[in-house]
C-alpha cells in the first residue's frame, strides 16, 4: 500500500483550493442567515416577497439554487487544477 507517500509531500497541496474556501464561507453565511431568521424572527418568514411567495419559500429555493450555481462556478474556476493533480498522481 503506497498511500502514505502522499503524506510525505508538502502539506499545502492537500488543502482545498482557496477560491473554494471563499465560496464555502459565502454559502455558510447565506445558510446561517436563513437559520437565524427561522430561529429568532420566524414571523418574517411568512411575509410575501414576490409573486405570492413568502420569504420561507423564496429563501429556501434560493439556498438550493445558489448551492448548485456555486458548485458549477467552482467547477469552472478549478478547470486548470487538473494538471497539478495529475502530476501528483504520477509522482506517487
Amino acid at each position: 500500500m503506497n498511500h502514505h507517500v502522499a503524506a510525505e509531500s508538502d502539506q499545502e497541496t492537500i488543502s482545498p483550493p482557496r477560491s473554494g474556501l471563499l465560496l464555502f464561507v459565502l454559502y455558510a453565511l447565506f445558510y446561517v442567515g436563513f437559520v437565524l431568521i427561522n430561529a429568532f424572527t420566524p414571523e418574517l418568514m411568512e411575509r410575501v416577497i414576490v409573486r405570492g411567495l413568502n420569504l420561507a419559500t423564496v429563501y429556501g429555493f434560493a439556498l438550493i439554487i445558489v448551492a448548485v450555481l456555486l458548485s458549477l462556478m467552482h467547477g469552472w474556476t478549478q478547470r486548470g487544477n487538473q494538471k497539478t493533480l495529475n502530476t501528483r498522481a504520477d509522482s506517487e
Binding site: M1, H3, H4, A6, A7, Q11, T13, I14, S15, P16, P17, G20, L21, L23, F24, Y27, A28, Y31, F34, V35, N38, A39, F40, P42, M45, E46, V48, R51, G52, L53, N54, A56, T57, G60, F61, L63, I64, I65, A67, V68, L70, S71, L72, H74, G75, Q78, N81, Q82, L85, N86, R88, A89
Partner: protein, 653 residues
C-alpha cells in the same frame, strides 16, 4: 388503511430487483482485487459517480421521510431538504479533493495518512461502524414499512428479503455493482419524481369539504355538557358499558348514523363558538383492532381508517356556486401552485393517545383546518414548534439540528468512500458537482411532491412515510408501481453502500490496520465479504427489532454522530498543521460518545424509545450537535497542543 397488494407493483418490483442482482453478478466477474472491491478500481466515470452520490444520499429517509413530513406538516419537512443539501457544500468545497488525495479505500485511510497510527485506524473504523449501523437501522425499518402495503408481506419478511438481496449485491461485486445500482436508482428517482410533479401541477387543486366535515361553530357555553351538544346537533351520544373511555376528555363521540361504532370529534372553543373537529380512532382491545369502535376490516360490521389529505377551501377566484360544492383550479404553474396553496385552507392531522383505565390505549387522529399561510412557513411540526415559543431551548434545539445537517453530510462514511471510486481529485470534484445538481433538483421536487400528497386525498393517517407512493397511486396505478419499486431500490442501494463502508472498516481498518493481520489481496476481499454478511445479518436483526421507530428520527441520530465524531478531525487535519494523532483519536472518541450519550439521554428518546416521561431527562434539548461538535473540536485542539511537543513520537505510535 388496508392496502391491497397490486400485481403490477409486484411485477415491476421483482423486475427491478432481478435486473439489479443480475447486473451485480455480471459486474462481479470484473472486480476480484481489493482495489476493485472497495473502490471499483478508481475507474468509475465522474458523471456516473456523481449520480451515484445522489443515489447514495437520497435514501429512504430522504425520499419517503421528507415527502411524508411535508405532506403532514408542510414547510418543516423542507427544512431537512435545505439542510441536507447545504451539507454538500461542505463536502464539495472543503472535503472532496483532499479526501481523494489522502486516502485509498476508507475514511480512516485519509485521517491516518499523515500519522500511520493504529489508534486512528481503530477509532475511525469504529466510528464508521457506529454511524453506518445507525444509518442502516432506519433504512431496514423503512424497507419493512414499504413492503407491507406493496407485496402484502409482513414487516420481518420485508426486512429479511431486502437484507438478503443487499448482501447478495455487496458480496458479488462490492463497489462496482453498488455504484451502478446507485446510478440507476439516482437517475430513476429524479426522473420519475419530476414526472410526478408535472402531473401534480397539471392536476391543480380540488377542494373537498365532504370527506371530513367540521361541525359548528355552535353558540354554546364553554362548559356545556356532551348531552347538550348532542341535543343541539340532533345526534345521540355513543354509549357502551365496557368501553373504558375516560369520562373527562376533550373528545365527544356520537353513535354512527348507520351501523355500529361511533364518530369521534374533538371539542375546540373558538371566539365564534364551539367547533367539533373530526377524528379517527384506532384501539386495540382484547387482541382485536378497532377502528372508531368497530373491528378493522371492509365487511358490513367493520370499519377501516379513511384516507386523508384534503384541501377544504380555495382562494376566492376559484370558488363558484355554493361553498359545499367541489371547486377546482385546473392546471397550475410551479409558482402559482405555491401561491394558491398559501391562500387556501387544508385539513392537517395531528395524533394523540387516550389512555384507558384498563391499561389499553386509543390512538386518536384529529383533523384541523389549517390556513395555507401556516403550511408554507416553518414551525408547524412539533419538533420545530420551539422556534415560535419564547423559551431558548426550542430555538437552540433548532440551531443544533440545522448545524448537524450542515456538518453531517461531509462526514458520512458511505458518502466519503465514494471519493475513491473515481480516478483523481478533479473527477472527485466533478462528480460532487453532478451530485449536488441532481440532489438539488430532487429536493426542489420534494416540496411539490409533499404538498401534492398533502392535498391528494389519498394519505394514510397512521403512516406519513407512505405519502409519496400514495400520491403516485392517486394519479396512476402504474406510476405507483414504478415509484414503489424505485423506493425499494433506494433502500437496496443505500443499504449496500452502508454495508460496504462497514465491511471496509472491519477488513481494511480494524483487522489489517489495527490488529496487523496481513492479508493477500484475495484474502482481504474475502474477509470484507464475510464482514459484509455479518453486518448485513445484524442489520436485518436490528431492522426487525426497531420496527416501530420513526425513520427520519434515526437518520437525524446518524447525522449528529457523524458530524460530532468525524468532521472536526477531518477539517482540522486539513487546516491546522499542529494536529496530532492523539488529538484526532481523542476528538473522534469524545465526539462519538458525547453525541451518542446525549441522544440516548435526551427527552425525545425517553419519550419515543424507552416510553418514559420526557421531563425526567436531564438533557436540556434533544439535538446534540451544537454542544458535541464544538466539544469534539476543542478536544482535538487541547490534546494536540499537549502532545505536539511529542509529535514525532506520536506519529510513529
Amino acid at each position: 388503511m388496508i392496502y391491497d397488494p397490486s400485481p403490477t407493483a409486484v411485477v415491476v418490483f421483482f423486475a427491478f430487483v432481478g435486473f439489479t442482482v443480475g447486473l451485480s453478478f455480471y459486474l462481479g466477474s470484473r472486480a476480484k482485487s481489493s482495489a476493485g472491491y472497495f473502490a471499483a478500481h478508481g475507474q468509475i466515470p465522474w458523471f456516473i459517480n456523481g449520480v451515484a452520490f445522489a443515489g447514495d444520499y437520497l435514501s429512504a429517509a430522504s425520499f419517503l421521510g421528507i415527502c411524508g413530513m411535508i405532506a403532514a406538516y408542510g414547510y418543516d419537512g423542507f427544512l431537512y431538504s435545505i439542510g441536507y443539501l447545504a451539507g454538500w457544500i461542505v463536502a464539495l468545497f472543503v472535503i472532496a479533493e483532499p479526501m481523494k488525495q489522502l486516502g485509498q479505500f476508507t475514511f480512516a485511510d485519509a485521517l491516518d495518512a499523515r500519522f500511520q497510527s493504529r489508534g486512528i485506524k481503530a477509532t475511525a473504523g469504529i466510528s464508521t461502524l457506529i454511524v453506518s449501523v445507525f444509518y442502516l437501522i432506519p433504512q431496514m425499518v423503512g424497507a419493512g414499512v414499504l413492503i407491507q402495503p406493496l407485496l402484502g408481506f409482513s414487516h420481518w419478511q420485508g426486512v429479511v428479503l431486502v437484507g438478503a438481496v443487499v448482501i447478495t449485491i455487496v458480496v458479488t461485486a462490492g463497489m462496482v455493482s453498488t455504484t451502478w445500482v446507485q446510478f440507476l436508482k439516482g437517475s430513476l428517482l429524479v426522473v420519475f419524481s419530476g414526472l410526478l410533479v408535472v402531473m401534480v401541477l397539471q392536476q391543480g387543486f380540488t377542494s373537498d369539504v365532504t370527506s371530513f366535515e367540521v361541525m359548528g361553530p355552535l353558540a354554546i357555553d364553554d362548559n356545556a355538557s356532551d348531552e347538550l351538544i348532542a341535543t343541539q346537533l340532533k345526534r345521540s351520544l355513543y354509549q357502551v358499558a365496557d368501553d373504558a373511555w375516560p369520562n373527562e376528555s376533550p373528545y365527544i363521540r356520537f353513535a354512527h348514523q348507520s351501523g355500529g361504532g361511533f364518530d369521534a370529534y374533538r371539542k375546540q372553543m373558538t371566539e365564534q363558538g364551539l367547533l367539533l373537529l373530526p377524528c379517527q380512532t384506532v384501539s386495540s382491545r382484547s387482541g382485536q383492532t378497532l377502528v372508531d369502535g368497530m373491528p378493522l376490516g371492509r365487511g358490513d360490521e367493520q370499519r377501516e381508517l379513511r384516507p386523508v389529505g384534503h384541501l377544504t377551501k380555495l382562494p376566492k377566484e376559484f370558488q363558484s356556486g355554493s361553498s359545499a360544492s367541489a371547486n377546482s383550479t385546473g392546471p397550475l404553474g410551479p409558482i402559482e401552485f405555491l401561491d394558491v396553496l398559501r391562500r387556501s385552507e387544508v385539513m392537517l392531522w395531528s395524533s394523540g393517545t387516550i389512555s384507558h383505565p384498563d391499561g389499553t390505549a386509543t390512538k386518536i387522529y384529529t383533523a384541523k383546518p389549517t390556513s395555507g399561510n401556516k403550511i408554507l412557513r416553518p414551525g408547524e411540526h412539533p419538533r420545530f414548534a420551539g422556534i415560535r415559543e419564547a423559551s431558548w431551548s426550542g430555538k437552540i434545539n433548532f440551531l443544533s439540528l440545522m448545524l448537524a445537517l450542515f456538518c453531517g453530510t461531509a462526514s458520512l462514511p458511505h458518502i466519503l468512500i465514494r471519493y475513491y471510486t473515481v480516478k483523481d481529485g478533479d473527477a472527485a470534484r466533478k462528480s460532487t458537482i453532478v451530485g449536488i445538481a441532481s440532489i438539488g433538483c430532487f429536493y426542489v421536487l420534494t416540496l411539490y411532491l409533499g404538498l401534492g400528497a398533502m392535498t391528494s386525498g389519498a394519505l394514510d393517517v397512521t403512516n406519513n412515510n407512505m405519502a409519496a407512493p400514495l400520491l403516485a397511486r392517486s394519479i396512476s396505478p402504474f406510476l405507483f408501481a414504478i415509484i414503489s419499486a424505485i423506493a425499494f431500490t433506494t433502500v437496496l442501494g443505500t443499504v449496500s453502500g452502508l454495508i460496504l463502508a462497514s465491511s471496509g472498516a472491519v477488513a481494511h481498518d480494524i483487522l489489517s490496520g489495527v490488529l496487523g493481520l496481513t492479508f493477500s489481496e484475495t484474502q482481504q476481499v474475502r474477509v470484507a465479504k464475510m464482514a459484509a454478511v455479518v453486518v448485513g445479518i445484524a442489520a436485518i436483526g436490528l431492522g426487525i427489532l426497531f420496527q416501530g421507530l420513526n425513520v427520519s428520527y434515526l437518520v437525524g441520530w446518524a447525522f449528529s454522530i457523524a458530524a460530532s465524531a468525524n468532521l472536526p478531525a477531518l477539517v482540522m487535519l486539513l487546516f491546522w498543521r499542529r494536529t496530532t494523532a492523539a488529538g484526532i483519536i481523542a476528538s473522534i472518541t469524545v465526539g462519538m460518545f458525547s453525541s451518542l450519550g446525549w441522544i440516548l439521554m435526551s427527552a425525545d428518546t425517553y419519550d419515543k424509545v424507552y416510553g418514559l416521561d420526557p421531563a425526567a431527562s436531564i438533557i436540556p434539548f434533544s439535538q446534540p450537535g451544537i454542544v458535541t461538535i464544538p466539544l469534539s473540536l476543542a478536544t482535538l485542539v487541547v490534546v494536540s497542543l499537549f502532545t505536539s511537543g511529542r509529535a514525532s513520537g506520536s506519529a510513529a505510535a
